[in-house]
Structure formats: structure tokens, C-alpha cells
């Protein structure tokens, strides 16, 4: 009997083994695979989501810093070594940035990541979604997001590689700026018929038809910079598409400032495309925050604004830029903190108690430790008292009060962190109006009964109670744009188009024209051997 079992046992055991071997194809139930995800509208939205959170990522950091600190609008000097940060901010001011500058590489990495994420989402949704309006709208939205990123990248770096297919892991060389320009134009034009015609809450945070038109206007207005060919009539046509949609209106003077408050959102009649920020939303990792109060609000005014942290506030404007705010009746003056500071009642002084040495680090009296109380007085000039080479104002009250501060994106007293609830517009209706005015001034044909002066006065009448302008020059328009779009990261773009980027301001005297584009970052050259460095660097 035992022997029989032995004879039988082995074959049965082996049979069992063979069966087991064949049955390894277990259905995966704990992971998302293309077979199970995405399958419905909610899941399609989840698939597209990473593109928007990736876009928000550095929008208020690398994008803002590169586009604003490289101009006369803003400066961020060190305070006793704080904020020196490997010369990242110093280089932005002096125009001597290198391929290793943290913000130069931050902008590249961020825009690359958004483009890569867009390619991935487009590829997944293209395969998963059934043909129809939902699919064509969603994919056109993602392609418009990608076009926005290519616009930012082309505007900032010039010739950049075009990577548009997810799963193609070959390294691409740079395409010429004109090729990238043509790609963006083609993509936007193809997207427009499929994008949503609505604005407001249903499309907020995602690109609609007018987002694509407004970006086309931006592209055409700067066409001479990008390709050497003027496209002012195309710019006017794109602006007219936005104007004729009837979806937007210029915010009145009384609510201009509120347009940028923490309570802003889809109801803003000027916002064509804005990036929503929400500190209360649960975040997984870092997916984009907005910290303007941290950089701009003086340390002494934490209580005034009711913010839950002490801001470090190294950032301010320069007197050259503040000089554009020369009309006392202009509501936009109120976005600045200047001179003696008062609490919100307008009467109570903002006082600080420190020591004589704490107030002035160069105080030489023997009573440097004696208490000293003073009213905070923000001074217009930036003086590198401690060390000019190290871009350092010093680390005392005098230094921390240097520079007029911008509070357009008004500090958020409701947030429990440094992150603010203010949504940040990328394309705004008043920008479209002023772009059209500029295109006409630069030789485009006036349409819809508008003239350059009528368009500029459309904006100005909603900003100032002063008399309407009777004429407008390009220089006037430049200053108007400076006032209107302060802190909205368009000033580098404007300065280059108006030929002012090589000027002198603050401590900057460098007039190298090749600095109209940033260098390709060192790290990007390592990860993509097909790239070559930009001219001049």
C-alpha cells in the first residue's frame, strides 16, 4: 500500500505543480491599470488633475521670481546673510545669472514637468475616452495648458526642445524659437473650436476659448521679439475675439483692489485664466502654494494683517518703478505700503521696541543695548550698507524697513499657514484691452470703433478719478501696464518688448542683450545630452 502511494504521490504532486505554474495570471485588484482606470467622467477629471496641480507648483515661485526680480519692479536683497541663497536673488537683479542659478533651473524643471505631465494625461485620456465632445474638450484643455507652458518656456529660454508624445524617451534637440512659436499658435488655433465657450464657475481654473485667444494675442503682440516678424493685426483679431465674446468686463475702481483679495475667485469679471490657490485644500506633497505676504509684509506688521506667522519680508520695489505711481487719484496706489505705518484704523501707529543696536547695527554708542521704541517707517531706497558684494542691507530695523512693499495679493488672515487663498490671474481682460491698444499704437489697424486712446481710457476710467487722457504714446502705455499688472509676472515680458530690459536700475548696469533669454540650466544639459547652451552663456 505504501509503495502504491509512493508511485501515485509523485505524479499527483507534479501535476499540482504544473497547474500552479499556469495559474499565476492573477487579476490585479489593488492597482490602477489601463483596464480599470480611467473609465468615467469623474475619473477622467482625476486623470487631468495632475496637470493643473503641476502648473500651480512653481507658478508663484520660479515663474514669479524670474519674471519679476529680473526687472525694476522688485528686488530681494540679503539681510545679514538671510536670503543670499547662493546668489539666486542677487543674480536676478544684476543680470549676471548663470546656468546654475536656482530659479533659472527651477523654471526649466517646472515647465518641463508640466509639459511631461500634460503629455502623459493626453496619452492616457486619448486611449481611454470614447470619441465625443467630452473627449475633444478635455484634450483641448490639456493641450492649451501645454501651450501655455511652452509659451512660458519659449519666452524665457528662446529655442527649446518640443516634446509632445508621451512614451517617446529619445532626447530631443532644441527647436528654433520660430518653430516653437508656430507650434503654440497651431495648437491654440486647433484647440479653440473644442474649448468651452463659457466662463466663470464652470470653467474656472481651466482654459476656455478666450484663454486660448488671449494667449494668442500675447504671442502675436510679442511676435517681433520671438520671430522678427510683426503680427499686430493678428493680435488685434485675437483681442477682438475675447472682447466680442461679451464674457468679460473691466473691474470698477471701487473693487479693483478686491479683485486680488483672498476672497477672489470665479466671480471676477476680468479673470480669463487664473490659478486657484486654496490653503484649506488637502494637499498631497507639494502641489503649489502662494506666499506673497511672506516675502512682502514687514515683520512689524504681522498683527496689522492678522497673519499666522511672522513674515520674513526681504522683498520690495525700487524707487524707479514706484515713480510710475504718480497720480494721486489712482486706486492702484493703495497696493503699496509706504512711509509711516499705521494699524487698520489709520490712527494707531505701528510701533516696534528694540535696542539702539537692534535699530541700527552700526550704532557705536556705549548704550547699544538700551531699549529703543520707534514707529515703523518704510523708506523707498535700498542701500547695501552691510556688504555690497554680498547684496546685503544689514540685519537691523533700518534694513528691514527698506523698500516700499506690495500687498496687492492681500495678506490672508484666514489661512493657518503661509499659503494664501488669493487666486492669481495669468490672463486678465484689462490685459487684452491694453494689448489691443498697444498693437494699434504699433501700427495695427483699429477695429470695432476702438482707438488706442479709447481703449486705454476704458481701463483708466476704472482706476483713477483723474481726467481721461487725450492722447497716448507707447511710453505712456508702458507705464500704464506697469501700474496695472504689478506683481502679475508680466514685467519682464513688457520690458523686453519695449526695449527696456537692458536699462540700468537699482544696482544693475549689465546691458547684455543675450540676457533676454535665460541660459539652459546645467542640470537640463545633463539630463538631455541633445541640448546645447544658449548663445552668450
Amino acid at each position: 500500500m505504501k509503495k502504491i502511494l509512493n508511485y501515485l504521490g509523485l505524479p499527483i504532486l507534479m501535476l499540482g505543480l504544473f497547474c500552479a505554474c499556469e495559474d499565476l495570471d492573477v487579476p490585479i485588484t489593488t492597482q490602477l491599470t489601463p483596464d480599470v482606470f480611467p473609465q468615467n467622467s469623474a475619473q477622467y477629471i482625476q486623470t487631468a488633475g495632475p496637470v493643473y496641480s503641476a502648473f500651480r507648483g512653481e507658478y508663484s515661485f520660479a515663474w514669479w521670481f524670474t519674471q519679476t526680480l529680473s526687472t525694476d519692479e522688485s528686488i530681494m536683497p540679503a539681510r545679514g546673510g538671510n536670503w543670499y541663497d547662493n546668489q539666486n536673488y542677487r543674480m536676478m537683479h544684476y543680470h549676471d545669472w548663470t546656468p546654475d542659478n536656482g530659479w533659472v533651473s527651477g523654471l526649466w524643471d517646472w515647465s518641463s514637468k508640466v509639459i511631461g505631465t500634460s503629455n502623459q494625461a493626453i496619452s492616457i485620456l486619448d486611449a481611454a475616452m470614447p470619441e465625443g465632445t467630452e473627449k475633444s474638450t478635455m484634450i483641448s484643455e490639456l493641450k492649451t495648458m501645454r501651450a501655455i507652458c511652452y509659451y512660458m518656456k519659449m519666452d524665457s529660454y528662446g529655442n527649446v526642445p518640443l516634446d509632445t508624445v508621451y512614451g517617446d524617451f529619445t532626447s530631443h534637440a532644441k527647436s528654433s524659437r520660430t518653430e516653437v512659436f508656430n507650434f503654440i499658435e497651431k495648437e491654440l488655433k486647433k484647440a479653440i473650436p473644442n474649448l468651452s465657450a463659457a466662463s466663470g464657475i464652470t470653467t474656472y481654473g481651466r482654459p476656455n476659448k478666450q484663454t486660448a485667444n488671449a494667449l494668442l494675442a500675447k504671442l502675436y503682440l510679442n511676435a517681433e521679439v520671438y520671430t522678427g516678424t510683426q503680427r499686430y493685426n493678428d493680435c488685434i483679431a485675437a483681442c477682438d475675439a475675447v472682447i466680442s465674446s461679451g464674457l468679460y468686463a473691466i473691474e470698477p475702481r471701487a473693487s479693483y483692489l478686491q479683485m486680488f483679495y483672498p476672497t477672489n475667485g470665479p466671480a471676477m469679471k476680468e479673470f480669463i485664466f487664473a490659478v486657484p490657490y486654496d490653503p484649506a485644500a488637502v494637499t498631497v506633497g507639494f502641489n503649489g502654494q502662494m506666499y506673497h505676504a511672506r516675502y512682502d509684509v514687514p515683520r512689524s506688521e504681522r498683527a496689522k494683517f492678522g497673519i499666522p506667522f511672522t513674515p520674513s519680508a526681504p522683498r520690495s520695489t525700487l524707487p524707479e518703478f514706484y515713480a510710475y505711481f504718480d497720480d494721486v487719484n489712482d486706486i492702484r496706489n493703495k497696493q503699496w505700503l509706504t512711509g509711516f505705518q499705521f494699524m487698520n484704523d489709520g490712527v494707531t501707529k505701528v510701533m516696534v521696541t528694540t535696542t539702539k543696536k537692534g535699530y541700527d547695527q552700526f550704532y557705536t554708542g556705549s548704550d547699544g543695548g538700551a531699549a529703543y521704541t520707534y514707529q515703523v517707517n518704510l523708506t523707498p531706497d535700498i542701500v547695501l550698507r552691510q556688504n555690497p558684494t554680498l547684496f546685503d542691507c544689514g540685519n537691523d530695523e533700518i534694513a528691514w524697513n527698506m523698500g516700499y512693499r506690495n500687498i496687492k495679493f492681500y495678506p490672508d488672515a484666514t489661512s493657518t499657514s503661509r499659503n494664501q487663498n488669493n487666486d492669481v490671474p495669468f490672463l486678465r481682460y484689462s490685459d487684452v484691452i491694453l494689448m489691443k491698444a498697444e498693437a494699434i499704437l504699433r501700427g495695427g489697424n483699429a477695429t470695432l470703433g476702438h482707438t488706442a486712446i479709447s481703449l486705454v481710457n476704458m481701463v483708466r476710467s476704472n482706476r483713477s478719478t483723474s481726467a481721461a487722457w487725450t492722447s497716448v504714446t507707447l511710453e505712456d502705455l508702458y507705464k500704464e501696464r506697469s501700474r496695472e499688472f504689478t506683481h502679475e509676472a508680466w514685467h519682464r515680458n513688457d520690458m523686453i518688448r519695449f526695449g527696456k530690459f537692458e536699462g540700468s536700475w537699482g544696482f544693475k548696469t549689465n546691458s547684455d542683450t543675450y540676457r533676454r533669454t535665460f541660459p539652459i540650466p546645467t542640470n537640463a544639459l545633463v539630463l538631455n545630452p541633445a541640448l546645447t547652451q544658449n548663445d552668450g552663456y
Binding site: 495632475p50 503641476a54 545679514g80 546673510g81 543670499y84 541663497d85 547662493n86 546668489q87 539666486n88 548663470t98 546656468p99 546654475d100 536656482g102 533651473s105 524643471d109 518641463s112 514637468k113 509639459i115 511631461g116 505631465t117 503629455n119 502623459q120 526642445p161 516634446d163 517617446d168 524617451f169 532626447s171 547695527q361 556688504n387 558684494t389 554680498l390 546685503d392 540685519n395 546645467t522 542640470n523 537640463a524 545633463v526 539630463l527 538631455n528 545630452p529
Partner: protein
């Protein structure tokens, strides 16, 4: 004698984020070879009626080389710069490199070339010229390995009458240590607000490069440590019930002979980033132990 070859080692490679949005992939991309020799020598040096001395010498030498570092999906070339101590203002600066033909723990950093006429630290650029504004990565040079050329262990046992003495030395030779801790405290311009090293006080506050990670902060990590010493005395059989009483004293970490200027030359040597002193380890303590052995 041995030779060990390891293939298809896994590493988290950085990749172009436009191709792979998460910007890294885990891939089998590395081969490595370890070749070495180990030897031990036991000598009964002296043996007389009252006195004996035996000594035991261990010697080992290992040569480690990365022999391959490529992957079809990894297009960053045949090298990876790594180990970022993230000292203030040094974002992006790395200390080591994985490179074909070089050992694990090869230092790759700025090559310090003294100070220029105005007292600012200067470095050898890629093209051999001197620069005060070196580029991260571009102007880096190979600067020696964190792996020792040889290791030594030397044990002695002495007995004299009822005394016994054990002395154990350990030594590591020919390795380099990157003293990033020292670099991070090398900021004369911050003397008003934070602690700096005494010898950084001689630096000019205008030397905005003083603290930059460079070969200036690479030091010889060789050392000899008297790791353990035990002195005992055996009373032997005492009285009727006690078969043996022995008292002894042990001291661990008696002294270390080294030129290394940091707290301790015995920094982390394992893992993929050996030989970096970056505020990341707790110094060894010296312990004294008194003991009594009683056998009934």
C-alpha cells in the same frame, strides 16, 4: 584574495521630467567589482615562565570600481553627481560622483586654488584657468576616494605573573573625508549671528566663497585608534569556596591618532555615500569599565 562582481545594481536615476514627469526612474543600471586581499598573522612572540606576549595582526585591502553605469532609459551619461549636504546657500552643490572606472565614494567637487589678490577664494575652472565664480558641476574635479587603501587590526595579549593586559589597535589608511561640517561653519560674514569655527575667523568677511564645498574641505581620514585596552589581575583561588577572583578595568576608545580636524575620523563608511562628515553622526564616547569576576 577575492574578486566579486556585482551586476544590474538598482538605483534611482534622475531623468528628464519632460519625458518622465516624476523625474526619476528605478532601474538596473550599474555593475561593480570588488577585488582584494585579506591576511592575518599570529605570533607567539615571547613566552617565559612569568611573561608572555602574543600578537595578532589583520590586514585587508579592497579595490572597488564601478564598471558600468548605463541603462537604455537613463540618458544622463555615464556619471551621476550626488550627495547634497544642502548647506545654506549651496543648493545644487554635490560632493561625490558615480562614474565608470571610479570607486564608490569618489569625491567630485571644486578644486580650491588659494585666494586671489583681493582675498577671495578661487578655484580651478574646467579649462584650467582660475575663477571666483565656479559653476556647479562644470568646474568640478576628481578629488580622491572615501574608501581606504587598507585596514589594519592589531591585537596584543600580555601576561605577567597574575596580570593580564589586552591592547587592540585599529587603523584605517589612505581614505579621504569630506568635512562638510567644517565648510558649513566657515562663514566669517555670519559671525554676528551664528557660531563659526575659530580658524574661520582669519578669513576675510568679503570672501563670499569661503564656505563653498571644495577640495579645501577634503582631508586625509587616516587614523589609528587604541580601540580597547583591558588590564586584569587574577587572585586565583581564594579561601575554601571561591575558585577564582579576577578584577579588571577596560577602556574603550582610549585615543585616536589622526590629522583629521573634525570630531572623529570614523564617519559613516557604509551605504552609497561614504566618507562625508556633514553634521550627521554622533561622536564616539570613551567608556571605562571596572569588573570583578568571581567563580564559586
Amino acid at each position: 584574495m577575492y574578486e566579486k562582481k556585482t551586476t544590474d545594481m538598482i538605483f534611482n536615476y534622475a531623468v528628464n521630467p519632460v519625458l518622465v514627469p516624476v523625474a526619476t526612474i528605478v532601474a538596473n543600471g550599474g555593475n561593480m567589482s570588488n577585488r582584494g586581499i585579506e591576511a592575518a598573522l599570529n605570533i607567539n612572540a615571547v613566552k617565559t615562565k612569568n611573561f608572555s606576549w602574543t600578537t595578532n595582526l589583520n590586514f585587508s585591502h579592497n579595490k572597488n570600481v564601478i564598471t558600468k553605469l548605463t541603462n537604455p532609459l537613463f540618458i544622463g551619461g555615464d556619471s551621476i553627481r550626488r550627495v547634497q549636504p544642502e548647506g545654506a546657500g549651496q543648493t545644487g552643490s554635490t560632493l561625490q560622483i558615480f562614474k565608470e572606472g571610479k570607486p564608490l565614494g569618489e569625491f567630485f567637487t571644486l578644486l580650491y586654488a588659494g585666494k586671489n589678490a583681493s582675498g577671495v577664494s578661487q578655484y580651478v575652472a574646467k579649462d584650467g584657468s582660475l575663477t571666483t565664480t565656479p559653476a556647479i558641476g562644470t568646474d568640478y574635479h576628481y578629488a580622491g576616494s572615501a574608501q581606504p587603501k587598507f585596514l589594519l587590526g592589531w591585537d596584543h595579549n600580555f601576561t605577567y605573573k597574575k596580570f593580564d593586559l589586552n591592547i587592540f589597535f585599529r587603523g584605517v589608511f589612505g581614505n579621504k573625508i569630506f568635512n562638510a561640517t567644517r565648510a558649513d561653519l566657515f562663514r566669517p560674514s555670519t559671525a554676528m549671528t551664528s557660531n563659526i569655527l575659530v580658524d574661520a575667523a582669519d578669513e576675510s568677511p568679503n570672501d563670499l566663497n569661503a564656505y563653498k564645498y571644495s577640495s579645501r574641505f577634503i582631508e586625509d581620514g587616516s587614523y589609528i585608534r587604541l580601540d580597547n585596552m583591558t588590564l586584569g589581575y587574577d587572585f586565583g583561588k581564594v579561601g575554601k569556596y571561591i575558585k577564582k577572583i579576577r578584577i579588571y578595568e577596560t577602556v574603550n576608545n582610549v585615543f585616536v591618532i589622526t590629522k583629521y580636524s573634525g570630531i572623529d575620523p570614523e564617519v559613516e563608511q557604509g551605504g552609497t555615500a561614504p566618507g562625508v562628515d556633514s553634521n550627521n553622526f554622533y561622536p564616539k564616547t570613551r567608556t571605562f569599565l571596572f569588573g570583578l569576576n568571581v567563580v564559586f
